[in-house]
Symmetry: C2
Subunit: 189 residues, 2 copies
Amino acid sequence: MTAVPARDRLVRAAASLFRRKGYDGVGLAEILAVSGLPKGSLYHHFPGGKSELARAATLSAGGVVEELVNDAFADAADFREGAVRTCRAIIGLAVQPDGVLACPVMSVLQAASDEPELRRVAKTVMSGWSACLAGHADRLGVNDARGVGEHLLALLQGAWILALAEQNGAPLERLATRLAAGEGARVFS
Amino acid sequence: MTAVPARDRLVRAAASLFRRKGYDGVGLAEILAVSGLPKGSLYHHFPGGKSELARAATLSAGGVVEELVNDAFADAADFREGAVRTCRAIIGLAVQPDGVLACPVMSVLQAASDEPELRRVAKTVMSGWSACLAGHADRLGVNDARGVGEHLLALLQGAWILALAEQNGAPLERLATRLAAGEGARVFS
DNA sequence: CAATGTCTAGACCGAACGGTCTAGCTATAG
DNA sequence: CTATAGCTAGACCGTTCGGTCTAGACATTG
């Protein structure tokens, strides 16, 4: 039947809803409705309530994205190829049938202003992504790998925001094209 | 006395609070407390309530940022110089005494999922910024001005997100440094 | 069998939410 | 003066919020 454990169903429902409406835009009732569980289950698995669930969802989503980045770079000949593949993979993550969804970290970032633990988790996941990209840059012989990793992360996050605002994956597609454009990959002419 | 008209005080308070906690994270009570006005005033100036106020705040903030960009590019010798100045100006906007605040558009972007009009305004403002940067790129003789404008906007938004997650302006500072680095301004080596 | 620990189920609570509505203050117009 | 329009003031409403708590289902263990 429900092969997926209750805890996982909660994490997935929360992550999905947060990405659509943001942490403060989603009520417990909605999370429970989507996961098909009663309130008692939520507070059994997450005694810390909504905040603890959000932390788990953010960490989980962070891992998913990092895996996706590693896959994109796994068989990349150089950093640029990995970057393009990563960008295309993120398009698949962002663009869903019912619209463009936000980055999971961004979706909890503002609510974190009065939730220090959630803030810490968001920062950790984001730093992890930066380090992950920097690691691939270094491995592939890029100079100033840390700077380049951060630069690419900023580009991806920024294009994701533009796509979110437009509710259209095009900004991410165009970024992929620009990244792929080879030697012309300078920021400016 | 209160030289600032009531309507403006509402818009400013709302914009400031939204940037700190996001649209859904701020209650009317808080906006009214900051602006020092009763509920009646809000619904007199904004019959559409919170949503209409958010639209006004987003539009207003959009104008402020666009002016700031135009100032940054006003006496720039080339596009790179304008980009660096813009980035530094945004640091001033993002980094406040009580922490790093979000981009005003981003702060309402997620709540816009069930507020079509707010979504439209957010998209309009963001497109305006992109067009503004593209205009300066074109004026300064950059090839593919639209693409470069969008690219810079993505970089700025992305670095802003990183700064928000870290609660530290460093990612924006490093972007400015990278942009200023001249010929090395390629995305990758 | 009984006892125990895990998890589901949902009624219930006080607080905060966005929004409505009436009353009254103030200033300009006639 | 009175009349009227613009705005302030805040009580009040129904709804939804996150969170607590008791009851019971169910499987495991002795």
